[in-house]
């Protein structure tokens, strides 16, 4: 169990976010911010929408429009009951179907003048806004989201606690003879019962091969992860990498662990966990304001002569209204990017290194911290060696 960051005040959190966006718009010289990505709309307005498959979500998308200096963003939504209670009526509007030319023109005509930024557009809206030469909204969103307020950190902590509590119960389902999807079902039921706002990703319950060559085919030569969960029977000795995410009040969580089915971990698996622990601990020892992502990469060191994480992901990533957002540490953006990324209080880091001994599988877990004024604080429980199969 992690300690609360603060007493959560959702209305205060939403107000703080609008203020951060406004400051970021000011700094970037943006007059109008148009948001069509649902996680960004959620960030700007606090609005809820149903959790849907991609195209359904696109057609039913809510849209937020924030004018610099305005007290609230305008919210256009099919789901008015999902708007936060404190939102004034004059900012809450019926949906505009920006997936159609007619709707796109309608929204474009409503927008105030000035420099316009947008995050993501259905093509008709992109076309309608063409004469405005929109710039990328990441100029505003990235600085606003990069550090979290105490309320935001508390949301992530609570989301993670809920996710962990669910997975603690799910562990009992990962036994020889069970199907991987039995674990998925137990998880999805548990998070609903525990109060999650929504699920965000098909729960990953992946039986890992012993060696990369055992498949599935990997274009990088590294372990392939994640692949969608299928009704695959679990067997004693299987090494499973799990990864689950939920939404609580608009915030993501990220749980990752390695489970060993039907037996105690062997000496190799104990060693793999110890090496994983050491990598994270070395990196954590460097986490404080002023340190760079490059410092963390350097501290994590090498395993078998290479960086101990999947090259197509990262040593660590941020977490907020998206389950993986800035800051990114150790990506293929390169060393210069890492050297330029300076840790600040309020940043969130989800560490997910991978120890892989080809032929003997490996270990992957995740741990989440927030950077504080003098170091870091935990937003997740600490990873443990899985002994439940013994």
């Amino acid at each position: 169990m992690t300690a609360p960051v603060c007493t959560l005040d959702l209305a205060r959190m939403r107000g703080d976010r609008v203020a951060k966006l406004d400051n970021a718009m000011d700094a970037a010289g943006i007059d109008v911010l148009v948001l069509c990505g649902q996680n960004n709309v959620s960030y700007a307005t606090g609005a809820r929408v149903p959790a849907c498959d991609h195209v359904r979500a696109s057609w039913w998308r809510a849209v937020a429009v924030l004018e610099r200096g305005a007290p609230w963003p305008h919210l256009y939504t099919e789901f008015p009951e999902g708007a936060p209670p404190e939102m004034p009526d004059e900012f809450l509007h019926r949906a505009i179907e920006v997936e159609t030319e007619e709707g796109a023109r309608e929204l474009a005509a409503l927008l105030p003048g000035g420099v316009l930024a947008i995050d993501d557009a259905p093509f008709p809206l992109w076309d309608a806004l063409g004469p405005r030469h929109p710039v990328d909204a990441s100029m505003v969103l990235a600085p606003a989201k990069l550090t979290k307020t105490p309320d935001e950190l508390e949301c992530i902590r609570q989301a993670q606690e809920l996710n962990e509590r669910a997975m603690l119960g799910v562990r009992a389902f990962a036994v020889p003879g069970a199907l991987a999807t039995d674990c998925s079902g137990a998880f999805l039921r548990a998070i609903a019962e525990h109060g999650a706002t929504a699920n965000t990703v098909d729960p990953v319950i992946q039986v890992m091969p012993r060696a990369v060559a055992d498949g599935p085919y990997s274009i990088t030569g590294e372990p392939v992860y994640p692949v969608p969960t299928r009704p695959q029977e679990l067997h004693a000795g299987d090494v499973i990498w799990v990864d689950t995410g939920i939404n609580l009040f608009g915030y993501a969580s990220d749980f990752g662990a390695t489970w060993i089915v039907g037996r105690a971990p062997d000496d190799r698996e104990r060693d793999q966990f110890a090496r994983w622990r050491a990598i994270v601990d070395r990196a954590l020892a460097r986490v404080r304001p002023g340190a760079t992502a490059a410092d963390l990469v350097q501290a994590a060191g090498l395993e078998h002569g290479r960086r101990p994480w999947l090259s197509y992901f990262y040593l660590a990533h941020g977490c907020g209204t998206d389950s993986a957002e800035m800051p990114f540490v150790g990506t293929d953006l390169g060393d210069a990017f890492d050297a330029a990324l300076v840790l600040q209080p309020g940043m969130v880091l989800v560490f997910e290194p991978v120890v892989w001994d080809d032929g003997a599988a490996g270990h992957r877990s995740e741990e989440i911290v927030a950077v504080t004024d003098d170091g870091y604080r935990w937003l997740s429980s600490r990873a443990e060696l899985d002994e439940a199969g013994a």
């Binding site: 990505g37 929408v49 149903p50 959790a51 849907c52 498959d53 991609h54 195209v55 359904r56 696109s58 057609w59 099919e78 789901f79 009951e81 997936e99 930024a117 947008i118 995050d119 993501d120 557009a121 093509f123 076309d127 929109p134 710039v135 990328d136 909204a137 199907l179 999807t181 039995d182 998925s184 079902g185 137990a186 999805l188 039921r189 998070i191 609903a192 019962e193 109060g195 699920n199 965000t200 990703v201 098909d202 729960p203 990953v204 085919y217 274009i219 990088t220 392939v224 994640p226 692949v227 969608p228 969960t229 009704p231 939404n247 197509y312 992901f313 990114f328 293929d332 953006l333 390169g334």
Partner: protein, 326 residues
């Protein structure tokens, strides 16, 4: 089955040299992808690219686990955070850099800049018209696949009904539905199941954060995405010791009977019906869309007492209702 051949034919007809798709359902249609399911929208980025001159489809994936057997490995391109690497991967796709007309299903300022580096001479156009035609192409497997998804959706709805009693929290029913889907081997929804009071002032898509009371009229919605094919249904119940199903809204049978070949979607919407295509996800239709035999669609209607939604297969006569439920 992938509709790539039909896609290439439509591209040739419309003079589209390349199709750059970001939406998962569109990737399912042209490449039968089975990538990890994520809820909600995501910013447009090239996730699936079709090049007309080579007839090749390129898929963003680090493994061929995400594509059907026999898919050429050289047509996979890897996950990257680095714009330069994405540009290099796109530029390496034979025939793409010379494209003059590129159809896309979304756009962001960042990706617009990136595509301009890869296809400097290209005009960007909306892929939706082409995709809309692709959705209506006959697919011999669609009925069976959507029917299988409908069976899962119905099992989910039945699980919700079994737990619908006074004092139950709507999200508990959502969990019951997801667990029933998983018991059928399906862990991906078309949407997360909904249990919410029938209220003319709400969308009936977002449940309240409170227990349901005896005597309340409640809409239950369940939608499954089984192996990349969608089906959904909704029914209305009165909460009680044993949940009691409410008869369909007035005019339901007449509306159902009107969903026949030759009917326009706009005509049905004029009768307060919600109508959209169903297949590799939602396949939105505009008002001018004309129903044809073999098309699969969702039909929804409500009045003050009841809301109902089913999936239908259009025929020349009365449609076949695919979703089984009381």
């Amino acid at each position: 089955m992938s509709r790539l051949p039909e896609c290439l034919r439509l591209m040739a007809r419309d003079g589209v040299d390349a199709l750059v798709l970001g939406r998962e359902a569109n990737a399912r249609i042209v490449a039968d992808t089975t990538r990890l399911w994520l809820a909600g929208t995501r910013p447009f980025a090239p996730g699936c690219v079709v090049v007309r001159t080579t007839g090749a489809v390129h898929v963003l994936a680090n493994t061929d686990d995400a594509v059907p057997g026999g898919f050429p490995k050289e047509c996979l391109f890897g996950i990257t955070w680095n714009a330069d690497k994405l540009v290099a991967a796109l530029a390496a796709m034979p025939g793409l850099s010379g494209a003059r007309r590129v159809a896309v299903d979304g756009m962001t300022p960042a990706i617009a800049g990136l595509l301009a580096r890869v296809t400097p001479a290209a005009q960007l156009v909306d892929a939706n018209a082409l995709l809309s035609e692709l959705w209506r192409e006959p697919d011999a497997t669609a009925l069976a696949r959507v029917t299988a998804a409908a069976d899962v959706a119905a099992a989910g709805l039945a699980a919700m009904v079994a737990e619908l009693r006074p004092g139950v929290h709507p999200r508990v029913l959502r969990g019951a539905c997801a667990a029933a889907f998983a018991a059928a081997g399906v862990t991906t929804p078309a949407f997360e199941a909904v249990a919410t009071p029938l209220d003319p002032h709400s969308s009936t898509w977002l449940p309240p954060d409170r227990p349901l009371a005896a005597g309340e009229t409640v809409v239950l919605r369940a939608g499954a995405l089984r192996e990349g094919w969608e089906a959904s249904l909704a029914r209305t119940y009165v909460v009680g010791a044993s949940a009691e199903v409410v008869a369909p809204p007035e005019g339901w049978d007449a509306l159902l009977g009107a969903c026949v070949a030759g009917a326009t979607v706009g005509g049905l919407r004029g009768r307060d019906a919600v109508v959209y295509g169903i297949g590799r996800g939602v396949e939105p239709w505009d008002d001018e869309f004309v129903l044809a035999p073999g098309l699969l669609c969702a039909l929804e209607h409500f009045d003050e007492t009841s809301l109902r939604q089913d999936v239908l297969c259009v025929t020349e006569q009365s449609p076949t209702v695919i979703t089984r439920g009381e």
